[in-house]
Amino acid sequence: MPLDTSTYNLALLRVDGRRWNELRRVHAQIRTQAAADGSSYLEMGHTKVMCVVTGPSEPGPRRGGVAGGGSGGAGAGGAGGKAEVVVGIVIAGFSSVDRKRHGRGDKRTLELASTVANALAASLHTHLFPHSQINVSLHVLSQDGSLLAALINAATLACVDAGIPMTDYVAACTAGSTSTYAANDEGADPLLDLNHQEEQELPGLTVATLGESDRVAVLVCESRVQVSRLEGMLAVGVDGCKQMREILDRVVRDKGRRMIQEGTVEKGVGLDDMDVD
């Protein structure tokens, strides 16, 4: 039981020692692969994801037209005057506790890929690169819950690394609730950042927001939960996304600062130097 109810009420600590509003340890790096346009590596607890972005570049042979715009965003290809975001996800067989081979055409994987593509397409300035394609390739090395959130975060970091203009970071995280779906218990606490065990047993959702705002880009809930719980979970999730954005931003700034120090990149005008001549 991820929340040993007796001890949870005593100390309000989860199995891994976190409180209800604490994120797991996040470790992120960008520019992990020199040869790619953009690359990143992200760990959220034990969920480890690698991402490589190529582009914007010439689109490959035209894929068959996708009927229906779906949820808007990534479809319609280069001919629509926007760059097309193509996402491929490979989930390693050794990523979960039991070795499981995931086929390429697996529907769950395709759904994840479609979600990441649409989330990115909503933030990237695709209108600047018509007739081109942005290829995002994600590899899941280890899964311990919050998979979709980790994929979105890693893809965002890699796109920032590739220098693709975007409106803001798309940061994601998960939120859950200690209530069961049938009960109407008022004492149910929302939880932030679920691990695998918590995801299996408790209702939870994945939410991604655009930058610091309260605007939700992605919301996926695959478990049964009372409607009244939704508000609490969503609020906690959005707050967690803001914390996530801070972490991602810090990673990018640190790397930028290091690159300037090493002289790989020209130091630009300081922000407070902008006096009118």
Partner: protein, 293 residues
């Protein structure tokens, strides 16, 4: 594979501007569904849903088979979707497009994973025999909002379906034909329904229910919420698209709940009508000796 012609820029702008003035092309309110019709076939388990010009047919069937090795006490329940060129030239048989994959996943999460059908009740002999219930969803005509119509069709088909009666005598399983014994309904726990919101406008500020195909091609984002009438969310899927304010999403969920209650009443009502139609007076009517005029 031919592509569907996209609506022209003029059409898109027209639809968007009309929506900004709270006008929809068919004169509906922003949160109003198209006329919904549900009919059942003569066979048990066939449901035909018409939502405006969108038409979906769902058929439920069952057969006895071996259960999965890792779940010996559960029956098998699958939902198969078919989007054929009959609906649109862009669909091809056996070549799942993104639309089909997403629709299939949504139905799976809404009906199967939420436990609407009690799979344990499908077990006949633990580890050896079980019922495998399969629902085939065929889209006959596509004018937007396949999801809501498909979910309604699946739920109606499953509630309408009767599986053959069985009995166990000392290790031997007997399956009775409908002529021998009346088939029995499935063990149904709750009825989930999908409600799809489409978003328009630069910030996704306009939320619209039940988009037609033209509106779907113009929208900037969508969110499908599945609930049952008891107020339990079975799933929510906002898979990307323009970011929408979180408070607005919560309001959408609340409105969705009222719509789901309406759907639920409609399905109950239609099922009751169908039952009455088949029943024809029950036992006493069978024993009557009068001829029909």
């Amino acid at each position: 594979m031919p592509r569907e012609a996209e609506p022209s820029l003029n059409e898109k702008q027209f639809v968007i501007q009309a929506l900004q003035e709270n006008l929809r092309l068919d004169g509906r309110e922003l949160d109003q569904y198209r006329p919904l019709e549900l009919t059942f076939g003569d066979q048990y388990g066939v449901a035909d849903v018409t939502l405006g010009n969108t038409r979906i047919l769902a058929k439920a069937t069952a057969e006895v088979t071996v259960p999965y090795a890792d779940r010996p006490l559960d029956g098998i329940f699958t939902i198969a979707t078919e989007l054929s060129p009959m609906t649109s030239p862009a669909f091809e048989v056996n070549r799942p497009t993104e639309t089909e994959v997403l629709l299939s996943r949504l139905l799976e999460k809404t009906v199967r994973r939420s436990g609407a059908l009690d799979t344990e009740s499908l077990c006949l002999v633990a580890g050896q025999k079980c019922w495998s219930v399969r629902v085939d969803v065929h889209a006959l005509s596509h004018d937007g909002n396949l999801t809501d119509a498909a979910c309604l069709a699946v739920v109606a088909a499953l509630r309408h379906f009767r599986k053959p009666d069985t009995s166990m005598e000392g290790g031997r399983l007997t399956v009775y034909t409908p002529a021998e014994r009346e088939p029995v309904p499935l063990s149904w726990l709750h009825s989930p329904f999908c409600v799809t919101w489409s978003f328009f406008g630069d910030e996704g500020e306009l939320a619209v229910l039940d988009a037609t195909w033209l509106e779907e091609q113009v929208r900037v984002g969508s969110c499908t919420i599945s609930l049952n009438k008891h107020g339990e969310i079975c799933q929510i899927a906002k898979l990307g698209g323009t970011p929408v304010d979180a408070v607005a999403l919560l309001q959408c969920t609340n409105v969705a709940l009222t719509k789901v209650k309406e759907f639920s009443d409609l399905v109950d009502q239609k099922l009751a009508e169908d039952l009455k139609r088949r029943d024809k007076g029950g036992f006493m009517a069978e024993l009557r000796a009068e001829n029909d005029r």
